[in-house]
């Protein structure tokens, strides 16, 4: 167990480096608020107006001219973003040897988003982990918590406790398991005014279902099994069910004002990263 965790832990810094890389690719496009507000960064000097407290006047600037000037700072609202990464065994699946598992992809996205958000000064944390904090040190906390979050269950149930009072949330999973826990969690979060997104990560093999002949399908933890004599026959019906599940998720999110998207683990991680960053930062 410990060695497992260690090997996983050793894989994570690499993942982190990749996440930094991924985040760097996005830095060009997304920036601060571009308006005056609370923050540390200088935004502009403006002439003092009636109602401005005398203490706000920047005397050094004002001494250079006849008017009085107020130093304005860029508005920097601090967001709280919470992530939930499905820790279940189902996420450890990869349909091809050189393709990353769904869990790796979820962790990569989480870390990359954390890098971006922390750099923007937001507070970031894992649902079920410690308090969301800002600062780069939080990245390592998240990393450690990600490494620790492993369950032996086949499918994960979305957690609902430990939400920050306000802020945003991102759920990353394959959402193949029962859908009820997720629904409860989202409903509860929505009720508290938390908005967020649902990112479903699927392996291409799960979309293609290229099996044939006599196959015994087993779930990743071995809890479920299904035997068929002709797997190819099942394909159409399986794909129907999968499509229905995706519809269900999208429907649910739409109703609660959340955002939903689907990501395949063989595609570039940049697209979902951009999507999630916009969704979490937006508004």
């Amino acid at each position: 167990m410990q060695s497992d965790a260690e090997s996983l832990g050793s894989a994570l810094p690499a993942l982190l480096a990749e996440a930094e890389h991924l985040a760097a690719s996005l830095m060009l496009g997304a920036h601060g608020r571009r308006r005056a507000g609370h923050g540390d960064e200088f935004w502009q000097y403006r002439p003092a107006m009636i109602g401005d407290a005398a203490s706000r006047i920047d005397w050094r600037r004002s001494a250079r001219s006849d008017g009085h000037f107020v130093r304005e700072r860029e508005w920097q609202a601090v967001q709280t973003v919470s992530f939930w990464v499905d820790p279940s065994q189902s996420m450890t699946y990869s349909g091809a040897q050189n393709r990353s598992t769904k869990r790796d992809r979820a962790r990569l996205l989480t870390l990359a988003l954390s890098v971006l958000l922390l750099r923007g000064g937001e507070r970031v944390g894992l649902i079920g982990g410690g308090m969301p904090r800002h600062g780069r040190a939080q990245l390592h906390t998240i990393m450690a918590e990600l490494a620790a979050a492993q369950s032996g269950d086949d499918y994960g149930a979305a957690q609902i406790d430990d939400f920050a009072a306000t802020g945003r949330a991102l759920y990353l999973s394959d959402f193949l398991g029962p859908i009820a826990p997720l629904q409860r969690a989202i409903e509860m979060a929505a009720a508290r005014g938390i908005r967020g997104c649902v990112l479903q990560i699927l392996d291409p093999e799960e979309e293609a279902f290229g099996f044939g002949g006599r196959v015994i399908f087993e779930s990743m933890a071995g809890g479920l099994r299904h035997e068929t004599q002709s797997a190819a026959d099942l394909r159409d019906r399986y794909l129907d069910r999968l499509a229905k599940r995706k519809d269900e998720l999208a429907q649910m999110c739409r109703q609660l004002g959340w955002l939903y998207t689907l990501h395949h683990s063989d595609q570039s991680a940049t697209t979902p990263l951009l999507w999630a960053y916009r969704a979490l930062e937006g508004g």
């Binding site: 193949l176 799960e206 002949g213 399986y238 999968l242």
Partner: protein, 905 residues
């Protein structure tokens, strides 16, 4: 003797198990594939629509049943056409003709004889083998195993079996069976041996029904080579090809010409002609029938196809005149390229026995008798008319082909009516037939023949008005030919034309071949090469000389054991003794009606076991694929298989381009691939090691070395070739030699390494191979590396050039002028020319060779001294490459003191 039998038929009962297998296989469905799949939750509750994969499909069952059946039948050992001849218990005598015709079927014959040996060995009989081309000896009966070795080593002879009665006398009195491998040719006295064998016991004769082709000696007729072939045992139409072999300009034996010969049905003799340029014809050493590796299919050529000796005698030798007006000049120009010319007095010339004597306008001859004798023996007297001949009294001249009218005639001159005459086309029986006649050839003056009933028969060429231009008369074996015009351009412009040259060439070639008669062969003749029974040649120089009389006898009776077919020569002449003479009669052997006759290519006993087992395995492999397919696991495998099939080999042109890119992307050292893997690997490793040292110590940083295939690869990319000479490596082709010469001319360097370390200072096989290789190359005169050669100081200062060996002498191009060193200078002023070759035997590559880790592969010397030796080997290598790449730059440094001196002033 046909059908199918089994070695162990009991195993066939195993076939009964097949239905059981069928039932078992049918009951067991194919094994399922276990697949981890996260989305299994979505599959739960999906029922299969049918259960067809539950059982093994019927075609898979058939496949497996077939595989098992093939294996069972295979192990039962089926044999097609088994040999079920009844054997008696008597000893067996195997009689083999093994003459000049047996080379074509020899492996087959040996196989059958080996089978017989094995069969008699199993039956416990004793065997004796006699080879009828050997000298008669009493057959030795011994165990079959004892004969296996001698039989395998036995080879057919290049002469006919003979002395049958001698063999018959030496047969033992006891009863024995015999098996006679006959060549199917009617040899005299064969019946004597046959009846002796039949008296001793059952006699079976095996002979090949395949047609036998034999090539008769090539001859000359009307200036063309005539090739005659005969055949036996064939009555349908057949097509064979004959090739003429000889050395090419670089001295390598090659096919010079090839021509087809076709036999019509029921035709046993066929003849064709071959027209070749004289240069090519003079090089022919033998003719052979393609695809028949027997001595009878090879015919050696001797001097009869070679250049003719032509003597030119002109009466005008004393007269002073312009050279271009001399008839001799035209004759020398025309005959020089195609024959050996001699000039002089008729008496002197006759003793040299020329093939042709040309008399240009000679009217009076003193040596008429001697000349007539010479013509009788086959000489060709070629005469040209002229003012002297026309003016002389010609009536009683015996050395003219026709009687001439005194005076001659003139047409087309300033004082005559009529135009100059032109040539009529040549008759079909003329030796000049087919030669093109240019329109502008005209004759304005000629001598005329007296009308004669035989004149038209004697005419070889005529003018368009019918007057003869060239006439001929045969005397004995020879002939006299007269041109009715002069040999210079005085009477006609014929001698100025190409036709003149062609006419003379044809006439010269139609002269007799050097005498084949026996009487004049005297003295001792030595064999230059000897024909083997397979139609190949072996060196005959080790054989004792033969007396001319014996050779003459063999020429008429055919070769025998003491005088095998081959090329014999003395100082003056060479004579080919061929298996088949011009008169050798080929007739099929007619066996008495009671002989048991068997064809040697009847259906052979053919073991089917291997084929069946392979078929079984192939079906099993198919079964594996089919099983994978059924269970849905084939996808990756199929992809791999398809990839493997379509992974086509890289195109040659593409490979060439890749090679060129590699070779030109940097300095690349190259070595010649010898075909000996060990030598090639060592050369490669040696150049790698040298390259490492070069990169470490000098500014030359070579890329990985390349092995060069001389026939395929371009040499122009490489500055330096390392050539490890092996005795076994085949000689490069003519194109490769041309390529190498171009390489050497354009500044490349070859380092030849015989790798023998000058062992024993004598001739080693590698040195012989090196001699063969260098004989085709433009290599300048060589000398051992002088002490002041630039090789000794192009990078390191070294005195000797050790490799793994230290003793060998190293040779380079000899310095042009042995100048003395200028005063105060250590070296001579040798400024020009990088030596194109370095030749030595110190096995340098072995000393340079390093493995992948850069560690020396082979030990050199002993201890510290060995390390030093290896270091000096590297230094030599570095000096060589420096010398190749910088030329004599180091030699220029000699002038530095002088230059400084001059600058100081």
């Amino acid at each position: 003797m046909s059908g199918l039998a089994f070695v162990s038929p009991a195993l066939l009962w195993g076939l009964l198990a097949l239905p059981v297998l069928w039932l078992i296989l049918r009951a067991i469905p194919p094994a399922p594939l276990r697949q981890r799949f996260p989305a299994v939750v979505l599959l739960l509750g999906l029922a299969d629509r049918d259960h067809k994969a539950d059982r093994t499909p019927w075609w898979l069952l058939v496949l497996r049943a077939l595989a098992i059946a093939a294996l069972i039948i295979g192990f039962a050992g089926p044999v097609m056409n088994p040999d079920i001849t009844e054997r008696s218990q008597a000893p067996l005598l195997i009689v083999i003709d093994g003459g000049w015709s047996d080379g074509r079927d020899w492996p087959n014959l040996q196989n059958i004889a080996m089978d017989e040996l094995a069969a008699t060995g199993r039956a416990g009989q004793t065997v004796a083998i006699i080879h009828l081309t050997d000298a008669p000896s009493a057959p030795v009966f011994q165990s079959a195993q004892g004969w296996a070795g001698p039989l395998a080593a036995m080879e057919p002879a290049a002469w006919a079996p003979s002395n049958f009665s001698g063999w018959a006398d030496l047969l033992p009195d006891t009863a024995f069976d015999s098996l006679w491998f006959s060549d199917g040719i009617d040899h005299p006295d064969r019946a004597i041996l046959l009846s002796a064998l039949q008296n001793a016991g059952r006699t079976e004769v095996i002979q090949s029904p395949r047609p036998l082709y034999a090539l008769r000696p090539a001859g000359f007729a009307d200036g063309q080579i005539v090739i005659n072939a005969a055949r036996l045992n064939g009555d349908g139409g057949a097509q064979i090809a004959v090739i003429a072999r000889g050395p090419d300009p670089s001295g390598i034996d090659r096919e010079l010409a090839r021509l087809p010969l076709s036999f019509d049905p029921n035709q046993t003799e066929v003849s064709t002609t071959l027209s070749l340029p004289p240069e090519l014809r003079n090089r022919i050493t033998s003719f052979e029938i393609v695809g028949q590796s027997a001595a009878g299919g090879v015919s050696l050529t001797d001097d009869s196809l070679k250049r003719r000796k032509v003597a030119i005698i002109s009466a005008a030798s004393a007269a002073e005149g312009l050279q271009l007006l001399s008839p001799e000049h035209y004759l020398i120009q025309a005959l020089g390229p195609i024959s050996d010319l001699m000039q002089g007095d008729l008496v002197d010339v006759l003793t040299a026995k020329p093939d042709v004597i040309v008399l240009a306008d000679v009217a009076r001859l003193s040596e008429t008798e001697a000349l007539l004798d010479w013509i009788n023996d086959g000489g060709l007297l070629l005469r040209f008319a002229g003012p002297r001949l026309a003016a002389s009294d010609l009536a009683e001249d015996a050395l003219l082909p026709v009687r001439l009218r005194a005076g001659g005639r003139i047409s087309g001159g300033t004082m005559t009516w009529g135009a100059p005459k032109v040539l009529a086309p040549f008759d079909s029986d003329s030796p000049f037939e087919g030669l093109p006649i240019a329109d502008d050839i005209s004759v304005s003056e000629q001598v005329l023949a007296e009308p004669d009933p035989e004149l038209s028969a004697a005419t070889l060429a005529a003018l368009d008005d019918g007057t003869p231009l060239v006439t001929r008369r045969a005397i004995g074996a020879g002939q006299i030919v007269l041109f009715h015009v002069t040999a210079n351009a005085e009477w006609s412009n014929l001698p100025l034309s190409g036709l003149f040259v062609q006419m003379l060439e044809r006439l010269t070639l139609s002269s007799r071949s050097p005498a084949q008669g026996g009487a004049e062969l005297t003295g001792v003749w030595t064999a230059e090469k000897v024909l083997t029974g397979f139609g190949t040649f072996s060196d005959g120089t080790a054989r004792a000389g033969v007396a001319g009389a014996d050779l003459a006898q063999s020429l008429s009776n055919g070769p025998n054991r003491d005088l095998p077919a081959g090329l014999y020569g003395n100082d003056e002449r060479r004579i080919a003794l061929n298996v088949i003479g011009a008169e050798t009669v080929l007739s099929p052997q007619v066996w008495p009606a009671d002989t048991i006759l068997r064809a040697n290519d009847g259906p052979e006993a053919y073991d089917l076991k291997g084929a069946l087992l392979v078929a079984g395995l192939i079906i099993l492999a198919l079964d594996v694929l089919a099983s994978l397919w059924i269970s849905g696991r084939l996808r990756g495998a199929a992809l791999t298989a398809v990839m493997l099939i379509w992974l086509a080999p890289i195109d040659q042109a593409q490979a060439d381009d890749l090679m060129a890119l590699r070779a030109t992307s940097g300095v690349v050292l190259a070595h010649i691939l010898t075909g000996d893997t060990q030598v090639d690997n060592l050369a490669q490793a040696g150049l790698v090691g040298l390259g490492d040292r070069l990169s470490a110590r000098t500014s030359i940083e070579p890329d990985a070395p390349i092995g060069i295939n001389l026939d395929r690869d371009e040499l122009a990319f490489f500055p330096f070739l390392y050539w490890p000479v092996t005795a076994e490596a085949p000689l490069p082709s003519a194109e490769a030699f041309a390529k190498l010469n171009r390489f050497l001319r354009t500044g490349g360097m070859i380092l030849f390494d015989t790798r023998d370390g000058d062992f024993g200072a004598g001739m080693t096989p590698e040195k012989q191979a090196l001699q063969l290789i260098t004989s085709g190359l433009d290599i300048p005169p060589l000398e051992p590396v002088p002490q002041d050669h630039v090789l000794t100081r192009s990078f390191y200062l070294i005195n000797d050039f050790p490799g793994r060996a230290t003793q060998g002498t190293t040779w380079v191009e000899a310095s042009i002028a042995p100048l003395d060193a200028a005063e105060g200078m250590p070296f001579r002023n040798l400024n020009d020319g990088v030596t194109p070759v370095i030749i030595g035997g110190n096995d340098w590559a072995a000393a340079w060779a390093v493995d992948d880790r850069g560690i020396a592969m082979l030990p050199v010397g002993r201890g510290r001294a060995g390390d030093e030796q290896r270091e000096y080997a590297y230094r030599f290598g570095i000096n060589v490459i420096m010398h190749v790449l910088t030329g004599n730059y180091k030699s220029d440094q000699v002038h530095v003191p002088a230059l400084l001196d001059r600058l100081g002033q």
